[in-house]
């Protein structure tokens, strides 16, 4: 073949294969541990493990943190407001999926 094929990239599924410690989550999202505590208190993040040193966050936490950051900076909501928004967004997603069934 004369055409150059780009290399095949293999990624990880964030929701399934990725787990992060508190330190990893902080460095990945460039946020402070204090802010993570706030998100955990609000129920936005639900780590496994009893103490913060043994916490393991699912990969989807990265996505949720980013979403909260965007909602805070673009809409001026606080963490509690962002928690509510996230919950409603997820419910909306679920309903949209169900609606697809009937919206043929």
């Amino acid at each position: 073949m004369s055409r150059e094929e780009p290399p095949l990239l293999t990624g990880e599924v964030l929701e399934e294969e990725v787990e992060l410690t508190l330190a990893e989550l902080c460095s990945c999202c460039q946020i402070t541990a204090e802010w993570v505590f706030e998100l955990v208190d609000e129920g936005i993040l639900e780590p496994h493990g009893r103490t913060s040193s043994s916490w393991r966050f699912s990969g989807i936490s990265v996505h949720r943190v980013r979403c909260v950051q965007r909602l805070e900076s673009d809409l001026g909501v606080n963490v509690a407001g962002a928690a509510l928004a996230l919950e409603l967004i997820e419910q909306l997603e679920e309903l949209r999926t169900r609606l697809q069934r009937f919206g043929k």
Binding site: E5, P6, P7, L8, L9, T10, G11, E12, V13, L14, E15, E16, V18, Q30, G59, I60, H63, R66, C67, R70, L71, S73, D74, L75, G76, A85, I89, E93, R96, T97, R98, Q100, R101
Partner: protein
């Protein structure tokens, strides 16, 4: 380049107060925020109003923009007048630190310079590149078997002259088996390049399924509406059903009613645990378009007294 009417975009008059502008922005932002909105143009609209707000919320930029005059119309061909911004001093601190590369050429031509300086960073500074996001459309079958997909991504980066340029690149990505709608595939180091010695950011691909002609998906579970004949539903039958993995023989129990779900355990999207496949039974009626067919229906009616509207409190005529 096209003139952009920032007041029109924000839906406010040219004499709007700063408070009114803020209120208009918040209202539009809630409507078009890409995390919240599924309106088809949400992302474009949100970017556009972000740009408009960037200018109008900042009294310095707003005054400079106003100075262009009220006679410009949106979409009109625009060249900034020479030295148009003379006498205006833009202060970095008062802005949101917005990134000019996300904004239009129009914005760039008016306010670009001050921004590109901040985007460059200080010499010798190192920072991790930004994470980037894209969507990847796959078919349900890809989630069952795994697949590879070619993606062409467009991104903006600062060229050697410090001006943003659009670049295109093509990636071939492995779609892992068992991936589900809304999940994200992380490709480490495929995001924006870092500054200085900083590492590149990551690329996140949000997985979305193409609508399927016969299946629909909820989480790990897959649903199929399967039509059966009235006698198959009433008497029970062994019939063939398609599944995403190929045909199966399916036992329809006697007395099956429309809407009944038959679960095929573990035949949904693969994974730990795998999802289930639900066959939702639909009863299809044969058409009475022949004499023999009509006779069969008449006989059916005689032999089987049946009022389908009983629960509505009405009797058959």
């Amino acid at each position: 380049m096209e003139f952009k009417d920032y007041y029109e975009i924000m839906g406010v008059g040219r004499d709007a107060s700063q408070d009114e502008i803020k209120r208009a922005y918040r209202k539009l932002a809630r409507k078009y925020h890409p995390d919240v909105s599924k309106e088809p143009e949400a992302e474009t609209r949100f970017k556009e109003m972000g740009e408009a707000y960037e200018v109008l919320k900042d009294p310095e930029k707003r005054a400079a923009y106003d100075q262009l005059g009220a006679n410009w119309k949106a979409g009109q061909d625009f060249r900034p007048p020479p030295d148009w911004d003379q006498g205006f001093e833009f202060h970095g601190g008062g802005f949101t630190g917005g990134d000019a590369s996300r904004f239009s050429d129009f914005f760039e031509s008016l306010f670009g310079q001050g921004f590109t300086q901040t985007a460059h960073g200080h010499p010798g500074m190192h920072a991790r590149g930004e994470d980037t996001f894209a969507r990847v459309l796959i078919d349900l079958e890809d989630a069952y078997q795994g697949a590879t997909r070619n993606l062409t991504l467009r991104h903006t980066e600062l060229g050697a002259d410090g001006r943003p340029q659009t670049r295109e690149r093509t990636l071939t990505v492995r779609i892992p088996q068992g991936v589900r709608q809304g999940q994200h595939i992380r490709l480490v180091g495929q995001g924006s390049p870092g500054i200085g010695k900083g590492k590149a950011g990551d690329l996140y691909l949000e997985v979305e399924f193409n609508p399927h002609a016969i299946y629909h998906v909820e989480g790990r579970d897959v649903f199929l509406e399967l039509p059966v004949a009235p006698w198959e539903a009433a008497l029970g039958a062994t019939i063939q059903s398609p599944t995403p993995r190929g045909k199966v023989e399916l036992k329809v129990p006697p007395g099956t009613t429309a809407g009944r779900k038959l679960r095929l355990k573990g035949r949904g999207i693969p994974g730990q645990p795998p999802g289930d496949l639900y066959i939702v039974i639909q009863v299809a009626l044969p058409r009475a378009d022949s004499e023999a067919g009509k006779a069969a229906y008449r006989q059916f009616a005689e032999q089987m007294p049946f009022n389908p509207r009983e629960h509505l409190g009405v009797r058959d005529a």
